[in-house]
Amino acid sequence: MHEFVHGGAAMIVQALAFYLFAFVTVTSGVMVISARNPVHSVLFLIAAFFSSAGLFVLLGAEFLAMILIVVYVGAVAVLFMFVVMMLDINYTEMRQGFLRYLPIGGLIGLVLLVELLVVVGGWALSPEAAHSGAAPMPAPGVLSNTHALGELLYTRYVYLFQAAGIVLLVAMIGAIVLTHRQREGVRRQRISDQLQRRAEDSVEVRDVPTGKGI
């Protein structure tokens, strides 16, 4: 009896959390496209990412939640922020055709919605699919999915994991080769020079005769 009450309370908390996150996600999503200031749009986008990460946690996919925050908030949204602040775009001008493009935009949205409904409606998982995966799925509750993914990634797929690392290394070298330039006249901080500086090098004691300058 006690357990039942406990479970019920947890369900209620879960449902409340779901509605909270879902509400914040949808509202921020709407605000992203309706906010007047593009910087606000990006901030709302970050809010949307955060609350979708919350939804993932509720689903038990904590790895995806972490990735969403680290990659999308940490990298993509910050990049957006830079782009928005650095590009000089007149947003009020861009907004002027909004009503004109509304019908065709709405039509495309409607077509996509119908297609999505058809796909989701006709979705059937084949009964063998659960067993034919390349790696056996761990029983729920035994391993967290981060742990399970890590165990696969560093054993069975270690070759691909390392190869992907090399791809990133090459991309990094490439970016430096193609863009890095040594500029003239840049003042660098040379810490060793600073530390080696002695009073004798920079302070000069002069005997100044009275009544005259140097």
Partner: protein, 498 residues
Amino acid sequence: MADVPNLMPALPEIFLVCAAMALLMLGVFQTGNEGKEGVKTAHLISNLSLTALVLTLLLVTTIASGPMRTFGGMFINDAFAVFFKVLVLIASALAITISQEYVTRQGIARLEFGVLILLATVGMMMMISANDLMAMYLGLEVQSLALYVLASFQRDDLRSTEAGLKYFVLGALASGLLLYGCSLVYGFSGTTSFDTLAALFGAHPAEAPSVGLVIGIVFILAGLAFKVSAVPFHMWTPDVYEGAPTPVTAFFSIGPKIAALALFLRIMIGPFGDLAAQWQQIVVFIAIASMVLGAFAAINQTNIKRLMAYSSIGHIGYALIGLAVAGQGGDGAVREAGIQGVLIYMAIYLFMNVGTFACILCMRRSDHMVEDIDDLAGLSKSHPMMALALAIFMFSMAGIPPLAGFFGKFYIFLAAVEAELYGLAVIGVLSSVVAAFYYLRIVKVMYFDALADSLEKPIGRDMAGVLVGTSLIILLFFAWPTPLLSAAAAATRGLFAG
């Protein structure tokens, strides 16, 4: 805990990638990376890269013994892989050798040059050893990314930047096609492993494969055809070859082509070998189109780098005849003869091309590079030895006996005739006659045109060494062909044994 995978088969790759990273660190922490100091560092790194390539070559040849799979079957090291890895390593080493003087003179001597060539080589070796769709894709990407950067290495030059950008955009498109094909094949078969795919298609040879699977194979074929620059996916080749720094062009025309062709052969003969009826006509078409375009489009070229681009398209066409023969089915010996022809052809093509590009790199007048065919006028009077070497390469590319290029074509056409692909053989012979026109025109310009303005002398010790070495190999191949023939035969058996 899972066992540690057997690292032995992949030891050369692991060594090379560690060497690349160590050299990068060494170069970065050298004092001063600009001006004279920078050039010195770049030379040091290039020389060490060369050493690393030679050591890898030794590793590759010592480890070889029978097919070895590792990393859960994603990586395979067999006689076929060893053959192509040796070719690729030789190609990279020669490319670094002939690039040294050029990068110094053009002011692009930077330590990353050698490191990027090493990393591209790692990618090529991963492609050659790939035994899984995912491993294949990652190998291809490591290679391609390094090559995109190399193409625009002369970043202050407009044409080099343009070449890099073009190559990048079109290469990304091709990678997309390839990935889409891989996803379709995976979706319709449920596996990405080459071994499992081969077993799957081999088990039901009579059944017609599903349409989705065939579309997937066609997409993979298109992606690979782009990487070997076969018609109709060749459009990027002339522009990229012309714009990229010349040593990089030399590298492009050998290393990546050889690696991509190795992958092409492995994937078509291995997993899709039993579906040959589906892809053989496509390969026949690509081969014919490449040969014909390579022969006719090169006629009007005045820039020797563009000419070499069209010539390389043509050569890939001839090599693909061998694959078409292997897809013809029927007699096992004939199929093996086709693949063996491709291997011999690519080995000879490697040396002809390196030699020709070494000559192009010597075309310098009052401290800037010249690239027009007319600039070679009267070369026989100013540089008799270099003219002789270039003449040998041109005669060999045209396929005139007893030079090595003749034997490359001979084995391919012989296999085509044995497989009763007479149309392919006839078109191949005719287009090589047309191609002979522009190869021989270069010889005519060198020997019979009046000397205009002499090219710079002397050509440098490295260049002279490469020229003498490659021209001797091309000239004397007929006297001692056994090592190459037996190595190619062993590699072919390795491929068919799976």
